[in-house]
């Protein structure tokens, strides 16, 4: 067993994990069920989180390797009462259908916009390539990322959910 300390959505959390335990399993065990498991093989992106600001598939990251790390999940990005502009844009653009990919998608969008505040469509497509969505055909997700970019750049009023 390994003792690990994580900063989870700003909250310091200590836990004991198996050496080969995956971050996704740890997070879900800790009640962070906003991180979804679509495949467990690093191929769908529904378990995406930001680890020290970088987008990772938490199902293929060892928790032990994330020791000391800062983790952001969708619930840490914003809540229904106080959504992050990316989340509001997803609601407004109709980018959410079944919603299973959504927590991962909004984080993939965040990871992109943190680095490229005004991405073009091709950059958005590239950034979302690791996050599969079976429902939306991606159109409205891309719209949502563009509109979130505008909002974050102050070029648009904050969209209302």
């Amino acid at each position: 067993m390994v003792n690990v300390t994580l900063t989870l959505n700003g909250e310091k959390t200590a836990c004991t994990v198996l050496p080969d335990e995956k971050l996704l399993d740890t997070l879900r065990r800790l009640g962070r069920t906003d991180v979804k498991k679509g495949c467990g093989e690093g191929t769908c992106g529904s378990c995406s989180v930001l680890l020290n600001g970088r987008l990772v598939a938490s199902c293929i990251v060892f928790t032990a390797a994330a020791d000391g790390g800062e983790i952001l999940t969708a619930a840490g990005l914003g809540t229904a009462d106080n959504p992050h502009p990316i989340q509001s844009s997803f609601v407004k653009a109709g980018a959410v259908q079944c919603g299973f990919c959504t927590p991962g998608m909004v984080l993939a969008a965040k990871a992109l916009l943190d680095v490229v505040p005004e991405p073009d469509v091709q950059q958005i497509k590239l950034a979302l390539d690791g996050n599969l969505c079976r429902c939306t055909g991606y159109v409205k997700i891309i719209d949502a990322v563009q509109s979130a970019a505008r909002t974050l750049a102050g070029k648009d009023e904050v969209p209302h959910a």
């Binding site: 679509g38 093989e41 969708a74 990005l77 809540t79 919603g99 390539d129 159109v139 409205k140 959910a161």
Partner: protein, 794 residues
């Protein structure tokens, strides 16, 4: 209700009712339920496509610390399950019939322990010869899977005399088509939670489309009355048909574990399990013969097709009925002969998948139209136009095409919107100037019978419960489910519009068998129509009570009360001489609007009206029920009223093919849909976009590979569903011709969104290479074979 100009909520791009809870990850999918004392299940699966089970030893598995129980066939109270035919064991006893047939269920404290122990269940098999092709399975020498033999069913259409007519036709074209499986690849895997209830019985929560199927399936397998099985749909991460019949099996396993251990039990599939053992779009082989006169008037169609059901029946006969009935696509044939054979094999289970047998036959009939056009030297679009069905014309099942059938509008809109002729000219020009790349354009049409086929009409009734609270907020329960398609949003709009309530204050609750009578399945693009009509019926009852009340408050006859924009107002039938009186008994909630130039208006805001209704003890709850008229059907001839209404669709796809690597890139897809009436343009477009991308996946990259019934690519690494980089530019257009029996004139969209896409994409890929495809998917290997044959694509 075709005039939507006076509507406030219907037709508007309102945000989904369930989007906010999904963007922050709070929405609870089945694996997110946390519950005291929860135990986990895992399955031991057959590695053989066909084998006798000689013995099962569970001692080693049972000895693993943390294991609570290992269950096998004798533990299942009624070990014969199945949605239509009960030909399947929940846990196999003597024989396994496909790779993945379940032989044991392990229950343990953690999922990991359960999985490890499941691998320790020792099963002694005697492998039997297996059969992996539907036509082979019908031969005498083939191993028999079931006592009745391998022919599960034979469905027919007999309309006119196709054989005699073909013998006399000017032109006859004949071809064979074959399509592979498609995996639904919903992002959330199958899963169910079962909680044992005091006094016997069980409560199920799970990822599903059809809670009432789950209720009856679980009750049957466990030998319980249905009123002992409560089913609540958890938030469901996509279904596409894959969560129609299959979740009954998942839930029955969880329920077995829960009742046997007395603990809440959960079963969630791994992705690989989901690929191997849940249902797929059916693999089909279709032999078509079509005859026409020299002018291109279609005369006869003769079809023999084989549907690979896999080891058990599931819904295969129901899926096949759609392939059988709509085998001729959207075209008029005065003579038709269709034989559809549904066959057991030792392959994966075929089942419901968006389009339900229709995408397969669309690929075949559209391929025939292309071939016939080539033979006649006619433009293929012209040939289609010439033979398109329109209202009142007979389908091959003998039914006159009912109203709301703007087939011609769909084709014309598609041709215009896509600028089809220019697209073709551009592709030709591109191909003249490029050596290793080619562009191609494909067009396909389809016709889809909305709601259930006559054969399933006993399931067609659907209910809703609408309750208005004193503060003007509204609760809606429907028998249909939300899978991501937007059903809850659309029924909230229907309730808000009908009641005059605030859309943002309508709440649609998770579908629960306790709240609504058995409403049949959420399938067949029927939920908008069925649940929508039921919600409308319930809302209308409440509305008429509120209209009476408003009339008494406003002091006017109830016929003068108009509902809309969050209020009930008096609109005098004749221009009034006097301003309306305000009822003396009403407390404060009446406001008098400033009169417009000609008409005085008084109104009561909806929340105030509800509060007053509550004080006066009015009943502000109602259940609604909708069932369409009966549809007579003769299954020996396939003649009768097959479906209540039809949806027409057209797609145009533009692709670019890389001749070196064989890759096909879809650049653009146009979609034109006849939807009756648009209820919410955003959710509607969302369905179309999703259908396009999923259809395109089946056309090109989603190639499920089986080796003697074992899936060789059970995951997203090798089974390639389209990613954001693959998506084409998409253009969706809607043709509105209201369906008289639909809520506000609406029809369905879920399945039509996909049906003709694979064909349009495949035809475009073929067009780029100068070929007519007859296999799906069109893989890079196919393209390379085409180009090699063709001397580098020339």
């Amino acid at each position: 209700m075709s005039d939507t100009s006076r509507l406030n909520v219907i037709g508007r791009p309102l945000p989904r009712v369930d989007a906010l809870e999904k963007v922050d990850g709070k929405a609870r999918y089945v694996d997110d339920y946390r519950i005291e004392g929860l135990v986990h299940c895992a399955m031991t699966l057959s590695p053989h496509p066909h084998a006798e089970v000689l013995s099962i030893r569970t001692d080693e598995a049972l000895a693993v610390p943390g294991v609570l129980g290992v269950f096998t066939a004798p533990d299942v109270p009624v070990n014969q399950i199945g949605c239509v035919f009960q030909d399947q064991p929940l846990l196999a006893a003597e024989r396994v019939r496909f790779v993945g047939d379940r032989v044991a269920l392990v229950v343990a404290k953690t999922r990991d322990i359960a999985r490890k122990a499941a691998a320790l269940v020792k099963v002694d098999y005697r492998p039997l010869p297996s059969v992996h092709d539907a036509e082979e399975a019908l031969k005498d020498v083939a191993p028999k899977l079931h006592a009745q033999g391998n022919l599960l069913a034979h469905q027919k259409i007999r309309f006119g005399d196709a054989a005699a007519c073909l013998a006399a036709c000017d032109v006859v074209v004949e071809h064979e088509f074959e399509v592979n499986y498609q995996e639904h690849a919903y992002l959330e895997p199958q899963g169910a939670l079962a909680v044992p209830e005091a006094g016997g019985g069980v409560t199920i929560a799970g990822s599903m489309q059809c809670p009432f199927y789950v209720q009856s399936g679980v009750a049957r397998a466990l030998g319980l009355d249905r009123n002992r099985v409560r089913v609540e749909q958890a938030v469901t991460g996509g279904g596409f048909g894959g969560k129609e019949e299959y979740p009954s099996e998942v839930a029955a396993l969880a329920a077995l574990a829960a009742l046997a251990t007395g603990r809440p039990a959960k079963l969630v599939f791994s992705r690989a399990e989901d690929f191997q053992i849940s249902t797929k779009r059916h693999r089909m082989r279709m032999r078509y013969k079509v005859g026409a006169d020299r002018e291109g008037k279609l005369q006869a169609i003769y079809v023999t097709q084989f549907v690979d059901s896999g080891g058990y029946a599931g819904l295969s006969t129901v899926v096949a009925e759609r392939a059988n009935t709509t085998a001729a696509g959207p075209y008029f044939f005065p003579n038709a002969h269709v034989d559809t054979f549904i066959v057991y094999t030792n392959n994966l289970l075929g089942g419901a998948f968006r389009g339900f047998g229709n995408p397969q036959v669309t690929f075949a009939i559209e391929g025939m139209m292309e071939r016939l056009a080539a033979r006649l030297g006619m433009d293929p679009v012209e040939l289609r136009r010439k033979n398109l069905l329109s209202e009142g014309m007979p389908l091959i099942c003998g039914q006159a095409l009912p109203p709301s059938a703007p087939s011609r509008d769909v084709l014309d809109t598609l041709a215009q919107r896509s600028d089809f002729d220019r697209l073709r000219a551009e592709a030709l020009e591109f191909n003249r100037t490029h050596r290793f790349r080619r562009k191609g354009v494909g067009l396909a049409l389809s016709m889809y019978g909305c709601c259930l086929h006559a054969g399933g009409q006993h399931l067609e009734g659907s209910g809703a419960l609408v309750q208005v609270r004193a503060d003007g907020s509204v609760e809606v329960n429907i028998g249909g489910t939300e899978l991501g398609q937007g059903a809850f949003t659309v029924v909230a709009q229907i309730a808000a519009e009908t009641l005059g309530a605030d859309y943002a204050r309508v709440r649609v609750l998770p579908t629960d068998t306790r709240m609504v009578a058995d409403s049949g399945p959420t399938v067949a693009s029927r939920t908008t129509i069925m649940s929508g009509n039921a919600v409308r019926a319930a809302s209308l009852q409440i509305r008429s009570r509120l209209v009476e009340l408003a009339a008494s408050m406003l002091g006017c006859p109830s016929r003068e009360v108009e509902v809309g924009n969050g209020a009930y107002r008096q609109v005098p039938v004749d221009p009034p001489a006097l301003r309306p009186e305000v009822s003396a008994s009403a407390p404060s909630p009446v406001t008098i609007d400033h009169p417009s130039s000609t008409i005085s208006q008084a109104n009561v805001r909806f929340p105030d009206l509800c509060m007053e209704a509550f004080r006066r003890k009015l009943h502000l709850a109602a259940s609604g029920w909708y069932a369409p008229p009966p549809k007579p059907w003769d299954k020996d001839t396939g003649q009768g009223i097959a479906y209540s209404v039809y949806c027409f669709t057209g797609n145009v796809a533009v692709v670019e093919v890389d001749l070196i690597g064989g890759l096909v890139k879809v650049e653009k897809v146009f979609a034109v849909h006849d939807v009756g009436q648009v209820l919410n343009p955003v959710t509607l477009e969302g369905q179309v976009h999703g259908g396009i991308v999923q259809g395109m996946g089946w056309a090109l990259s989603e190639n499920l590979v089986l080796d003697k019934g074992r899936c060789l690519n059970p995951g997203f690494t090798d089974y390639l569903i389209p990613s954001s980089l693959d998506m084409p530019q998409m253009d969706a257009t809607f043709v509105e011709e209201p369906y008289p029996d639909g809520p506000f004139g609406a029809k369905g969209i879920g399945e039509p969104s996909l049906i003709s896409v694979p064909t349009a994409v495949a035809l475009a890929a073929g067009d780029a290479c100068g070929q007519l495809p007859d296999r799906l998917p069109v893989t890079p290997e196919t393209v390379l074979r085409w180009t090699a044959k063709d001397g580098n694509g020339q």
